[in-house]
């Protein structure tokens, strides 16, 4: 039996009476770009929270490289090679941009309990930090407090912090959320170039359909916590149920 690289089995998460993620089984192939789309409140972010260990599922399980990682706490997942970015910018606001990235690099190293040696004495970490800042184009802002960056640059920093430890899997939750539309192509090009290097597995949540259709290998459509459809971009574009879900007609039929 071939096991998927990253796989969920009957994943379910309830918030009181609300079932935010309902029996979601998804298989993500290694080195692919797999998009998760769906209307607001479909459960995409919750699904990411379950994958990354931020939340525990009510039932169901998550497998990575054939291993059950369902109960892995959130601070362990990055050490297994799964990195996660946030839809709502989630930084260390008064620390410098450099320090934000440096912390992301340091986390997967072995020096976290060196408590008397200054951080400037770890050249590998500094080198990697500078590299990442270069990649996301924030070199000139390195010294600024992260909280003072314009929103678009904060999104770049958010991406930098997940690239920093060089994880095998990138869980990207709406990386362009709230960005000015003229900044979006730059960031998507960056993601496309990461993908074309071929060494990463990317799970992408994104609302922009043009982007999703052009960049994805496979797409899973979520709706009201459930998987509505799954397939290649072509299959999804032709799927009537998906179109209905996005137009909202499905709600009315089910509710009445």
């Amino acid at each position: 039996m071939s096991t998927a690289f990253l796989e969920t089995k009957h994943l379910r998460r309830e918030f009181g009476a609300l079932v935010a993620v309902d029996d979601v089984s998804v298989q993500v192939a290694e080195h692919s770009l797999h998009s998760i789309i769906g209307p607001n409140g479909a459960g995409k972010t919750t699904f990411f929270n379950l994958l990354s260990g931020t939340l525990a599922p009510t039932s169901g399980s998550v497998f990575f490289r054939g291993e059950d990682i369902t109960s892995l706490p959130v601070y362990r997942t990055i050490h297994r090679g799964i990195g996660r970015s946030y839809q709502i910018t989630n930084l260390f606001p008064t620390l410098s941009v450099f320090e934000n990235v440096r912390l992301a690099v340091q986390a997967t190293g072995r020096d976290n309990f060196r408590f008397l040696t200054p951080v400037t004495k770890f050249p590998d970490v500094l080198q990697r930090t500078s590299e990442v800042l270069e990649i996301v184009g924030l070199t000139d802002d390195a010294a600024r407090p992260a909280g003072q960056l314009p929103h678009g640059d904060q999104r770049k920093l958010e991406l930098g912090m997940i690239l920093a430890p060089d994880p095998d899997v990138l869980l990207l939750d709406e990386p362009t959320a709230g960005m000015a539309s003229n900044q979006v192509p730059e960031l998507m090009e960056l993601i496309a170039s990461i993908r074309s290097q071929g060494s990463k597995t990317i799970v992408l949540v994104e609302h922009n359909m043009n982007v999703v259709m052009s960049v994805s290998d496979r797409i899973t459509v979520m709706h009201q916590g459930q998987v509505l459809a799954e397939g290649t971009p072509g299959e999804i574009a032709d799927d009537e149920r998906v179109q209905e879900a996005y137009l909202g007609t499905l709600y009315d039929e089910e509710d009445s």
Binding site: L91, L103, T117, P118, V119, T120, P165
Partner: protein, 357 residues
């Protein structure tokens, strides 16, 4: 390579401030002596006078600064709101008193005993760390310290703690008797503060301290970056408890009596006030804050007697209104906004703020 990494500073530039402060502090008793007509030899011999008296006050400031520093690591650097911090100090103070007096332990054995007690105390606080966050942690730590506060005052333990009167007459070796060797005790407490400050500064600049700051800024993100923040918070508690424990030990050594006051909520509030005055999370602010705190209290009391507490309170309010980042924090930002301070003051009395700008 384009790098923002701070360049390696020279030894002098790294320790300039500390060196100047140390030289000034060592010279201080002699300068006071000369100004009040005492020879340096007389100051060294610990003869009564202004120099001896002010050294006594400075010793208290150094110990309070050590205590404030330990609170700044927990609250200002790590972002853990503890309302039971007095217990870190009081355990040191009482443990040393009891070990010296009731157990008759030698001085150095007692010192080691205090360190052990401090670690155990930090682990006790650490026990509740994973279970309660934020304000709940504040309340649980307040609960822990309140129990301790009640226990040291209980008449059952009067034999050891002196109950509500306090612990008196702990035997202290002659070589560290503050009445005889004032200048020596002055130097010892100054050294303890300097060493603690240098260690703290190193911690904040090291990988571990970086994670403590990250925890303060955004614990959720620190977790998702891969830091098990529990161990880092526990580290901060242990270092802090050791520091406050040593402060308590020194307190017992040079005070004639250890009162239950040092275990009460007021003592935690004192730590909070000191770092608020000096600047939360700045480390140097804890030292400046301790000096302002103790000297303000002493001199206002001396000059104004009964009305002093009101004046002390008013001074704190003024500092918080006009220097919201504390003395050191405001100094670093180089912005004293008198207008904003006045506006805050007016609002405090319910007067509508004048539109600034």
């Amino acid at each position: 390579m384009t790098s923002f990494a701070p360049t390696r500073a020279s030894l002098w530039s790294r320790y300039r401030l500390v060196a100047v402060a140390l030289i000034a502090a060592v010279a201080f008793p002699f300068i006071v002596g000369l100004l009040s007509g005492q020879s340096p030899a007389a100051v060294l011999a610990g003869e009564a006078g202004n120099a001896k008296f002010l050294q006594g006050l400075a010793i208290e400031v150094f110990i309070l600064a050590l205590y404030a520093l330990s609170y700044d690591l927990v609250l200002g650097v790590t972002g853990l709101l503890s309302f039971g911090h007095a217990m870190f100090f009081a355990v040191g103070a009482y443990a040393s008193g009891i070990m010296l007096k009731s157990f008759g332990w030698p001085f150095w054995v007692t010192f080691i005993g205090v360190l052990v007690a401090a670690v155990v105390n930090a682990l006790l606080f650490g026990l509740v760390l994973p279970r309660v966050k934020g304000i709940a942690f504040a309340l649980v730590t307040l609960g822990l310290s309140s129990v301790f506060f009640i226990v040291v005052q209980s008449s059952e333990l009067a034999k050891y703690t002196g109950a509500d009167v306090g612990l008196q007459g702990a035997p202290v070796p002659e070589w560290i008797d503050t009445n005889v060797h004032r200048f020596r005790v002055y130097l010892i407490t100054l050294a303890a503060l300097t060493i603690a400050y240098l260690i703290y500064r190193a911690i904040v600049r090291a990988p571990t301290g970086a994670v403590l700051l990250a925890n303060r800024e955004n614990e959720e993100r620190a977790l998702s970056l891969g830091y098990n923040t529990f161990w880092f918070k526990l580290f901060a508690l242990v270092v802090s408890s050791l520091t406050a424990g040593v402060a308590g030990f020194l307190w017992t050594v040079q005070q004639p009596i250890v009162t239950p006051q040092v275990a009460g909520l007021g003592w935690t509030v004192a730590a909070l006030l000191m770092i608020l005055i000096g600047g939360v999370g700045t480390l140097t602010g804890a030292i400046v804050g301790a000096a302002v705190f103790r000297l303000l209290e002493y001199y206002l009391e001396r000059w104004f007697g009964g009305t002093a507490p009101v004046l002390v309170g008013a001074s704190y309010i003024a500092i918080v209104l006009f220097l919201p980042y504390g003395i050191v924090g405001t100094w670093r930002a180089r912005t004293v906004n008198r207008r904003q301070g006045l506006d805050r003051l007016r609002r405090l009395f319910g007067i509508r703020a004048r539109r600034s700008q």
